[in-house]
Subunit: 192 residues, 2 copies
């Protein structure tokens, strides 16, 4: 069982991300995706702090991301449109596959956890399916695009996002929706 | 949209694997996983024939595999036991993460498509949840183990597996169950 020797603390946090993604599907509960995002942010932080950034950890992270922010998120989107849900998940997997082979200071394309947050919050906010379909196609395009998105590692921003996610779980998704919208807007503005 | 320039024909086949994995969940239809396995076998074949084995394609393949043979398969397992479904999907993701960082003549650990076929066939064959739980734990262990499994690229074996999968879709899962059992038995025997 050589595999057990290469697992680090941060990999265990990654596995919690994956687990909450699965629970979201099994229990039909989108709030579990918000919890998965928190563990996803945490695993990168733990890996850097404990200096255990490994190739294995990176692969496991992508696989967990496609589960929670790809499949589980698309599962809720499929209730609005199966076609759009498939488009979104394909775009997310292309984004993650490229991420693993490109080294870059910035993210290339909207990171899938941000895309997932935006969609889950939209599903809470808007009852009109046309708005959901439009926003999902926008997110799908941004993920596979070449637009640069800044890597934010500021702890104050992290805290703000964390509080917004807690609010979203408590049925107030407006703050997290606006934060992601500002992140997208800023990245598009910076591009010019 | 640089991403569109790196997508090959075999990547499109990989995306069909992913799509059928998603459809299995959305429509609650395990037979779509059998179709996903066929596309998964096909994409490797197409990539080798068209000489388009790329790093991007390998990453996309893993991501599609965790969707169809990890999440979608665990979705049906969760109807028997949520705990076992999570164990199985974690084991599958560890197996895929290791696969991407190790270069080896043989597979190290049972490949997840074989594990998935075994579990989906078992769910068709056995009504006793204890048998399903036992077989799922066995598959999970074999995936993360260091046991070597031969890469089979014989076209006759491929045809046999293909026919067995079609029979399983037609509600005769016995042949594919026996083939995977023989594959596991042979790999364990060869080890000694």
């Amino acid at each position: 069982m050589e595999i057990l020797k290469i697992i680090t603390i941060s990999d265990l946090v990654t596995i919690l991300n994956l687990t909450f993604g699965l629970l979201a599907i099994y229990f039909n509960e989108p709030n579990f995706i918000y919890i998965a995002v928190i563990f996803d942010a945490l695993d990168g932080y733990v890996a850097r702090k404990t200096k255990t950034v490994t190739e294995f950890g990176k692969e496991l992270d992508s696989l967990s991301d496609i589960v929670s922010f790809g499949v589980a998120t698309s599962y809720f989107l499929a209730k609005v449109s199966i076609f759009i849900a498939i488009i979104y998940c394909i775009a997310g997997s292309l984004r993650l596959a490229r991420f693993n082979i490109v080294n870059s200071k910035d993210f290339i394309g909207l990171p899938i956890p941000a895309g997932s947050l935006f969609i889950i919050a939209s599903l809470q906010l808007f009852k009109n399916p046309h708005i959901i379909i439009f926003l999902s196609l926008l997110v799908s395009y941004l993920m596979v695009s070449d637009i640069k998105f800044k890597k934010v590692r500021d702890l104050r921003v992290g805290l703000l996002v964390f509080i917004s996610i807690i609010l979203a779980i408590l049925n107030h998704p407006e703050p997290i929706f606006i934060i992601i919208l500002l992140y997208i807007g800023y990245s598009l503005y910076r591009r010019e």
